[in-house]
Symmetry: C2
Subunit: 454 residues, 2 copies
Amino acid sequence: MYDAENTYKPWHQLSLLVDEADPKKIIAYLESINPADTALAVSRLGVETQSKLLTLLSPKDAAEVIEDISDTQAADIIEELSPREAAAILEELDSDHVVDLLGELDAEDGNAIIQHMSPEDAQEARQFLQFAPDTAGGLMISEFLDFRSYQTVQDVLDDFQANHDEYVHYDVQYLYVTDDSNRLEGVLRMRDLLFPKRQTELGQLMIRNPYKISADATLEELSNFFEEHSLFGVPVVDCDNKLLGLVLPEALEEAEQERSVHQFLGLSGIIGGEEFRSMPLFARSGRRLSWLSLNIVLNIIAASVIAMYQDTLAAAIALAVFLPMVSDMSGCSGNQAVAVSMRELSLGLLRPTELLRVLAKEAGVGIANGAALGLLLAAVAYIWKGNIYLSLVVGTALAINTLVAVCLGGSLPLLLKRLKLDPALVSSPLLTTVTDMCGFFLVLSFASMVLDKL
Amino acid sequence: MYDAENTYKPWHQLSLLVDEADPKKIIAYLESINPADTALAVSRLGVETQSKLLTLLSPKDAAEVIEDISDTQAADIIEELSPREAAAILEELDSDHVVDLLGELDAEDGNAIIQHMSPEDAQEARQFLQFAPDTAGGLMISEFLDFRSYQTVQDVLDDFQANHDEYVHYDVQYLYVTDDSNRLEGVLRMRDLLFPKRQTELGQLMIRNPYKISADATLEELSNFFEEHSLFGVPVVDCDNKLLGLVLPEALEEAEQERSVHQFLGLSGIIGGEEFRSMPLFARSGRRLSWLSLNIVLNIIAASVIAMYQDTLAAAIALAVFLPMVSDMSGCSGNQAVAVSMRELSLGLLRPTELLRVLAKEAGVGIANGAALGLLLAAVAYIWKGNIYLSLVVGTALAINTLVAVCLGGSLPLLLKRLKLDPALVSSPLLTTVTDMCGFFLVLSFASMVLDKL
């Protein structure tokens, strides 16, 4: 089968150009393809070729390549460079991107790089790294414009002209006014400069006591803020009202997107960060195995219930067909409830304390779906074996276990959140273990009661 | 246990105020709480109280309530209103929000509402609804500013002053210049108006042939565009270069976020849209059950393998303990590979045609993790029963089944994407069925070969 899409392999071309070691040709090529293809091409190069690519380019050009690829991959490549080379590239990136990358490196590598940055950039990086990634401090950028209240519109316009090359990269819609101690006094929108006389002082134009947010504000608080006020950014201040940075709504959306991805990967058993197939086999296999090893231990615990009832099972071997069905189906039902709770929690439609509400709501679904699935399985069992007792045993077990699974699945994210554990990582293995054990126990203990009829 | 958080129930207060039927008090109360609490309070009201709330408020105020809650919930409430009331509220919303809401309603309800909108708004809504939700046309807004090239800076400033109240809600950084047939000619940034003389015509200031994007551009194309050009928005044109709307980067990020949420919910078996516990039991239970019913059929198919080997199992009942373990563990390994493929696909780091690459990469992980898990399970079996044959049977079965599961899990999202099926919904049930069948078959057929030694 001929497939045009398959034959276009930008990484071959890029690899050849890196071998030629002509930065101009490399830049020309990267500019000719789109950022997604740049990301694809760079990710498929070997580690050595990746390092060589970044060192061949000027720090500014290398920074543009870094911007096109994911943080996880960028950090892997940065680690291979000398701290001096890495620092030169990082200085060309936006402050929030620098912090994201440093956050992916281990502390030692990060410090080595910071030591090679210019004193101001190094100080800024150290300051920004103090904040947790999912707080206003962790999301803010330092690329904002601040002036003093005694400066005039003309001063601002002159400053714009003088610093045009720098400001053109700023994604900023507001001017902030600070006092001599850098405390936030007011804000102006760009458009507020259009109408007044050019000698007007900013102090007369600015909105005093502007909206602001504390550096330790959480994603939820930021999300509330931007829902309440449709602004292009919010200034971040410390406890002394000193202006630290600016959080853009995009940064918040990106953080929320990362949280969804984290939930998705965590529920699937990909933990400790993203996995890309360009990573070394050892790293990929090891990280997956660490999660699987925990899981197999939980599986052994669950299966030990079967071991206790071996005699029952041997006496009615048909039950063996139903054991995995009862446990799998309950696991599925429980995971549905986990997902609904996690969504409601992250949307703020459910509080971690509202356990009773969840139990009441899930009990309804559990009884309805348990009855439906139990009847279905009972019917299957009866058609297959024609034994009403077998069909009662497996149907009742599935019905009860579905109820247990949805109540537990709905509650687990709330309990884990209150225990400060990550529901995305812990809910599913815990749920499956309990529903497996409970499912095996229900089927086999009901069966023991009517063993002579099976 | 006393819990302050638990005692604050904004929906009680809101419900009382709706009963009092005093819109001013309701507005005052909603303004005193944050949007997340508004969303929470509204979602907990009964259907009748929700409708009463919206009809008590002015359409403008009702629209603000609608903006605070999720589209799924908003659509549920809108459905309960008369088309006339609904239309009045929708006219107060941004165009992309209107389209999102109409998209959640069934076609008949949507049309009834559109018929009660003003002719211009109705035409716009019909036009916007033509586009698929995940395209530039589906994400664009109609709130943009366009002028003609012969208009002057003064004309624009006069227009700003005259329409200040309307434009203040516009989230727009650019002015677009169109010809008399509405074809896009150029673009200006707001700041381009700061320096020139006020009599300058826009035609002299504008950037000609601006970046633009076609209405049928996909999320990937938009994502590429905004990565390549850091702009505050991109104009959307039809095939005649006529200006249709504006896509903001926020709209793109929101769409990408929705995709992640959809993947997360889909993998957990929540299909057909979001589920909130405020929805009626019947709807929640029914939607979950529709997915579970498919799953139980797949489970029956998988378990039928055990039924075929009942004699083997009866002869070596210890195997029954290992059957669910082998199938569960392989399912987990396979789901890890599914998640990695889905992430790589959505980041553009993997193409749907690159099956061989995935197989090669997953085979490595499958062999490494299969060997590790197989050895672990073999050790457990030997410690428990002291039978080397049993331990060989279950260890080898798990090792091989892990390899099968990761290769299949890694490939499934690619195959499903090429078949235009949704990997988030289909991968996991399909994978689990195959790995269950294969796991049961491997354990029981290996066991049959050495049955006299078990």
